[in-house]
């Protein structure tokens, strides 16, 4: 069963093609991640799926409803958390929740079980104005407000941007719990490492979808052997590997370099042989499995 079906959707702003012929489907009950940098078109796509923006071309349905003709039905079926905090800053935590519940014709009590785990963390601050909450608390309140009418599907536009790694983990744990309730969750993020928190992902760049699949399938399609290389002089190593005639790509990855080679049958001894002609101490070369950033950068340079 599909929760979202997108067929050849495009959207331009003047000369800028923000979303360029995107097609994909999102299954019911999955966590689906749109992963890409700023300007990839994630927000425009989310705004079209939540009926806040009309596409120039193409069709899409959400929970079986057409995003143009059935916009009213979609609005009561989806929960949407925009990238910018957009609750009422001068209402308290509780007032915001009551407000959103009332707008959707429900009460906090009716769907309390859905927000309970998140709300208990907010409860000590329930009389505080939303504008005075810390970033992490604002995020939790926004999620509660998006859930209060028990939506079938949640759209979360960059919920973890600017959030530290520990709080990001906690947020993803909350999403994992909501998934168990059967809610389809569509998330966008610029943090590539969050791909492993999603069931399936779409890698997005400049309005286009480069790949849609399970992370492990995308990784398995990485076309070359990849090595992690280290030595005493990392900055020099980077330049020397880039100058190597068989180098395909060389990128910094934390404390090592990821090196891919244009030869099909390359071994780490080939690379070591080359580096031994240079002046390096403590060289280490390890064949590794690519990660999501390796794949993203490879797709970007196609």
């Amino acid at each position: 069963m599909n929760s979202v079906i997108i067929e050849n959707i495009s959207k331009s702003y003047g000369d800028v093609l923000a979303v360029d012929d995107v097609s994909l489907t999102i299954e019911k009950g999955e966590i689906f991640g749109f992963i890409g940098p700023d300007g990839a078109g994630k927000t425009s796509l989310f705004r079209m799926l939540t009926t806040l923006l009309i596409p120039d071309k193409g069709n899409a349905t959400v929970e079986g409803f057409d995003i143009v003709k059935d916009y009213k039905k979609i609005r009561s079926a989806v929960g949407y958390m925009p990238g910018r905090f957009s609750l009422y800053q001068d209402l308290t935590v509780e007032e915001n929740l009551h407000f959103f519940a009332a707008v959707f014709g429900t009460t906090i009590q009716e769907n309390y079980n859905l927000i309970k785990d998140i709300y208990v963390m907010l409860e000590p601050f329930k009389n505080r104005k939303a504008g005075k909450l810390s970033g992490g608390m604002k995020q939790k309140l926004a999620l509660c407000c998006a859930l209060i009418h028990k939506p079938k599907i949640l759209f979360l536009d960059e919920p973890t941007t600017g959030v530290d790694p520990v709080s990001r983990n906690e947020f993803w744990d909350m999403l994992g719990n909501l998934r168990k309730e059967g809610i389809t969750i569509v998330v966008s993020t610029p943090y590539m490492d969050e791909a492993n928190k999603c069931d399936r992902i779409a890698l997005m760049q400049k309005g286009k979808i480069m790949e849609t699949d399970y992370l492990k399938n995308i990784i398995s399609r990485f076309p070359r052997k990849l090595f992690a290389v280290k030595s005493d002089g990392m900055f020099v190593l980077l330049n020397e590997l880039r100058e190597y005639q068989f180098a395909n790509s060389v990128f910094s990855f934390g404390d090592s370099l990821h090196y891919s080679d244009s030869r099909e049958n390359v071994t780490k001894d080939n690379i070591l042989e080359y580096l031994n002609t240079k002046n390096h101490g403590n060289i280490s070369i390890e064949e590794i499995e690519p990660n999501i950033e390796d794949c993203f950068m490879d797709l970007m340079s196609k």
Binding site: D38, D164, N169
Partner: protein
């Protein structure tokens, strides 16, 4: 305090009412160092950085930045540091050269110096074709690199970068770090915050703030050893959760 350090802070503290946002932090940064300033949201990083940039007067303690006192010489600090964040960047509706002229002018560069700098930057960044284009039409990666170049247009001894690579694609993020290395190689001290833990590995030393205090400060290698972690992400999680 000696002049061997570009930043020296001793028991630097900032209170808002009863709340202590920065709680007696002491540390020093060497010239040319890439110093990573990490911590969870709400740990006090922004407040500490605002004090070091001369934007907020500390409640107590002492500190100097580029030799100037954070209590009494805030205007000199502002003139002698560079600052860049992802949020505060260049003007989208000015052209490349207009942006360079605007920021150079604010920092009081002479006309001849400004002209020389403009040509130098356009050449360095290989953007001569785009020099008269509005910023809004440029790819994000170019904007970021220009923003960094403009932040150090007045040749400050130290530049503060507040999440400079947020939301940037992985290739541009790495190219941006090439520029940071280059600046550091030329003697500019780089004080940087980031939520990307792989970037913490690129710093010479990293400090981790927890609840207003500096919980740890060392090289990435030493931190990994101390916390028995494979990478800086694990170090961060262990420190932020109190081991």
């Amino acid at each position: 305090m000696t002049n061997n350090y570009i930043i020296e802070a001793e028991n630097l503290t900032k209170k808002f009412g009863h709340f202590t946002a920065v709680d007696s932090i002491s540390f020093s940064v060497k010239p040319g160092e890439i110093f990573g300033f990490l911590g969870a949201n709400g740990a006090g990083k922004t407040t500490a950085m605002r004090m070091l940039c001369g934007l907020s007067i500390p409640s107590s303690g002492k500190a100097t930045v580029a030799g100037f006192d954070v209590f009494k010489q805030t205007e000199q600090i502002k003139k002698n540091i560079g600052y860049m964040s992802q949020k505060f960047s260049l003007y989208d509706d000015l052209t490349v050269t207009e942006n360079i002229n605007f920021y150079g002018g604010i920092y009081g560069l002479s006309k001849s110096k400004l002209k020389e700098k403009t040509e130098y930057l356009i050449d360095l960044l290989k953007i001569s074709d785009a020099r008269n284009k509005l910023l809004v039409s440029l790819p994000l990666g170019w904007k970021q690199k220009l923003a960094f170049s403009v932040a150090i247009i007045h040749e400050p001894k130290i530049v503060f970068l507040d999440e400079p690579t947020g939301g940037v694609d992985p290739i541009t993020r790495r190219q941006f770090w090439d520029m940071i290395y280059e600046a550091s190689h030329n003697g500019v001290t780089v004080f940087v915050t980031t939520h990307y833990m792989d970037e913490a590995e690129y710093c010479n030393r990293v400090s981790m703030m927890v609840d207003g205090r500096i919980a740890s400060l060392d090289t990435p290698d030493n931190l990994k050893k101390e916390y028995n972690a494979d990478n800086m992400h694990e170090v961060f999680v262990k420190i932020a959760r109190g081991k």
